[in-house]
């Protein structure tokens, strides 16, 4: 018999008007009792539509059944078979477009809160986790370039198989987008740190401040340093700009710059030496998760914040929960509004966004209705800071400095389903291959590449 409640058990959260002044995590997580009740809402469908919606096919009904039984550690083990970063994915996956979007309970009422349950199982596991066992080394050495979701997942799986793995990270801290991009209030850095510490406990070596393509070429990793295979998980962090007038005025930032200052450099803390703009009125251009993150960060730094997005509510690409949280915190949304130009004052500081209202016309190639300008609807939105969250392209450095590494027109590394690139012994995965996508897809790609690297090295020594 299942729990007939039609809505998800609410997630306990910090009060919106308190949390929009602090950087602590917004969602506090289910307690054991709530988690069990929520798990009992699952019908354990035979055809498992939720699993079909999961990019890495986590055995969802099975782990939920374990939570319902009260065996939380078993639930964690089931998730771990398919996912290396459950504490992260439970928090940042767009569940409504994946597992939860397919849930039968969602037809009449709300789907089962699969993401919250995943997070619960992972948090419970870590709360009681013992020491990590160090696998027995097989003596083979692999280099992983980049310590974001793809790199961490690849390194973790290889380490478990006994490989001697070294992770090279360009920044001074590991985690990639989990560290520099996603804010503390959505993904506490403590979680990222723990994932990295677990890898180190398994024997993975971490070299921060190491820009591959400059300090060592991919070729030198193989020849000079003697790695038998290399995994490239260098991500997509190159920010796109609009190409409109005024984009280089002072006070105009890419979301990556703004968030890197806030997250990685912790510019919101009093004693951080990294400066950040403390603006009065911030306009964020874009509608994805990054736009929401930037808007909510600006709000926490004391600004009035408006998100400007050219399509409608239905088209907003951000996770539903982030949109909801942003609005609760007092972030204003101006939908169907397109920025035309950024205006500056005499000193070259941005002071306003010239906008035009849009209406939805016929669907375009992507199937989304194309926004068209409403004649005569131009207006000015005052802003002393403008943040551009318009998407990112693959980081260009490795692609440009590695001879023979084939890429696609937008700079994505060409790789097959196993991550094999045009270079012998060189594999790639995550946003560097797909362009900016999700944590879970990158994690899945890292794990597939780990298996392919294992097969590659094993066959070479047969």
């Amino acid at each position: 018999m299942y729990n007939r409640r039609e809505t998800k058990y609410p997630m306990p959260v910090q009060d919106p008007l308190v949390r929009n002044h602090n950087f602590k995590e917004v969602a506090l997580g289910y307690d054991a009792e709530t988690a069990v009740c929520e798990a009992e809402r699952c019908l354990s469908c035979k055809n498992r539509p939720c699993v079909k919606g999961c990019p890495v096919s986590v055995a969802i009904p099975e782990f939920i059944a374990k939570i319902a039984e009260g065996d939380f550690e078993a639930a964690y083990r089931i998730i771990s078979e398919s996912s290396s970063l459950p504490a992260v994915c439970g928090r940042v996956c767009p569940q409504e477009r994946q597992c939860e979007g397919n849930c039968i309970r969602g037809i009449k009422g709300e789907p089962v809160a699969i993401g919250r349950l995943e997070r619960f199982a992972a948090d419970m596991h870590y709360a009681g986790a013992g020491a990590i066992e160090r696998p027995i080394s097989n003596g083979h050495r692999v280099a992983v370039v980049g310590s974001g979701p793809a790199g961490l997942a690849c390194a973790g799986d290889l380490a478990k198989m006994g490989y001697d793995v070294t992770v090279f990270e360009a920044l001074h801290a590991a985690g990639g987008v989990l560290s520099y991009g996603i804010p503390e209030f959505r993904l506490p850095k403590e979680i990222v740190k723990r994932e990295v510490e677990n890898l180190i406990a398994m024997g993975v070596k971490l070299c921060t401040d190491s820009v591959i393509g400059r300090l060592y070429s991919v070729e030198e990793l193989r020849t000079e340093l003697g790695f038998e295979a290399v995994f490239l998980g260098t991500g997509a962090g190159l920010p796109r700009f609009l190409g409109i007038r005024g984009e280089n005025l002072k006070g105009v930032f890419s979301a990556n710059e703004y968030l890197t200052r806030a997250n990685l450099m912790r510019a919101y803390e009093e004693d951080s030496e990294t400066p950040i703009y403390h603006a009065k009125r911030v306009a964020v251009l874009g509608g994805g998760n990054v736009a929401m993150d930037a808007a909510r960060t600006a709000k926490r730094l004391g600004a009035e914040v408006t998100i400007v997005y050219r399509r409608g509510m239905e088209e907003l690409p951000a996770r539903k929960e982030e949109i909801l949280h942003a609005r609760e915190e007092g972030v204003e949304l101006r939908l169907l509004t397109n920025p035309v130009e950024l205006l500056g004052d005499a000193e070259g500081n941005v002071c306003a966004v010239e906008c035009v209202e849009m209406e939805l016309g016929a669907p375009d190639e992507s199937g989304r209705r194309r926004p068209v300008k409403k004649v005569g609807s131009e207006f000015r939105l005052e802003a002393d800071c403008v943040i551009l969250a318009l998407g990112t392209s693959p980081n260009p450095l490795l692609q440009r400095t590695t001879a023979g590494l084939e890429t696609k027109p937008h700079g994505e590394i060409s790789a097959d389903g196993d991550g094999k690139t045009s270079l012998e012994g060189v594999f790639a995965g995550g946003d560097a291959v797909t362009g900016s996508a999700t944590v879970i897809l990158a994690m899945g790609a890292g794990r597939r590449a780990a298996r392919a690297i294992d097969a590659y090295i094993s066959s070479a020594h047969r």
């Binding site: 360009a170 920044l171 001074h172 520099y180 921060t208 401040d209 190491s210 820009v211 400059r214 300090l215 060592y216 962090g237 190159l238 920010p239 700009f241 190409g243 984009e247 280089n248 005025l249 002072k250 006070g251 930032f253 890419s254 990556n256 710059e257 890197t260 200052r261 450099m265 912790r266 004693d271 951080s272 030496e273 990294t274 400066p275 000193e347 070259g348 980081n395 260009p396 450095l397 440009r400």
Partner: protein
């Protein structure tokens, strides 16, 4: 000028490239151009002017101490291939970065003519080092306290009037590079400016270092830091470099107070 032990960077860095450093765990990341390397000793030299809190703290470091982070080499090396006859123009502290470029040209067999400009006599650096490799060297100071009175453009124009050059390298304050570009324009000689914008990651991720070149947004960290000086929008670059001026001043005053406290 400080020297840091970083053997691999020393081995790989070429003239025109830069590093990013953090002084300590709470510190900001700042880019500094490589002023020289010693492969045998495994050291990298960087030069800086005290402008904000970080450079003030860096200035207070003593021999044998450590920095939290030292990342590099970043950016593309200065293009010197095929250059037989060149003018190197250095301004102020920029001379320390111009020197490795001049050295590299000289080592590759090019004829190097140097123009270095400073505000006044007390600020003159590296004159002998430049002289050792230059076919001609002209020193200028704004106040005339050493060398020729005025800026670098006068002597530069005289050189250009006197012969053909393959390239002019301008390394120094943005305003100086802007005027160098204006001076060389009528001569049609390839002129390269070494840009030094504000940066965070230095690997193409933040876009903070964007520079408009020929109407297109380029990133100094991965596309530069050298660009065709005739195509750089210097006025915009000058404005952008002032983005954190008030914050820099506050930080400098704060760290000055700290140092004074430590001394007393």
């Amino acid at each position: 000028m400080i020297e840091l032990e970083a053997p691999r960077i020393a081995q790989k860095a070429l003239a025109g490239q830069f590093i990013i450093l953090r002084v300590d765990e709470r510190g900001e990341r700042i880019p500094l151009t490589v002023a020289g390397t010693d492969v045998e000793r495994g050291t990298v030299a960087v030069i800086f002017q005290v402008v904000g809190g970080t450079t003030a703290k860096l200035n207070a470091k003593r021999e044998g101490e450590f920095l939290a982070d030292f990342v590099g080499p970043l950016g593309n090396p200065t293009e010197v291939e095929g250059v037989k006859r060149a003018i190197v123009v250095g301004g102020g502290v920029g001379c320390a970065i111009a020197l490795p470029v001049a050295k590299r040209l000289y080592a590759l067999g090019a004829e190097v003519h140097t123009v270095v400009g400073f505000r006044s006599r007390e600020l003159v650096i590296l004159e002998e080092e430049f002289r050792a490799l230059s076919s001609t060297l002209t020193l200028t100071t704004d106040d005339g306290s050493a060398g020729e009175k005025g800026n670098v453009c006068g002597p530069l124009k005289r050189l250009l009037d006197g012969g053909e050059y393959d390239a002019v390298y301008a390394i120094g304050p943005l305003l100086m590079m802007k005027y160098v570009a204006a001076t060389t324009r009528p001569y049609g000689v390839k002129t390269i400016a070494s840009m030094n914008p504000i940066m965070i990651d230095g690997t193409g991720m933040c876009g903070c270092c964007r520079v408009t070149v020929d109407g297109v947004t380029r990133f100094a960290c991965v596309d530069g830091p050298d660009f065709d000086a005739q195509k750089v929008d210097f006025d915009e670059a000058i404005l952008r470099n002032r983005s954190y001026l008030p914050a820099e001043q506050r930080a400098r005053e704060k760290s000055c107070r700290l140092f004074r406290k430590e001394e007393s």
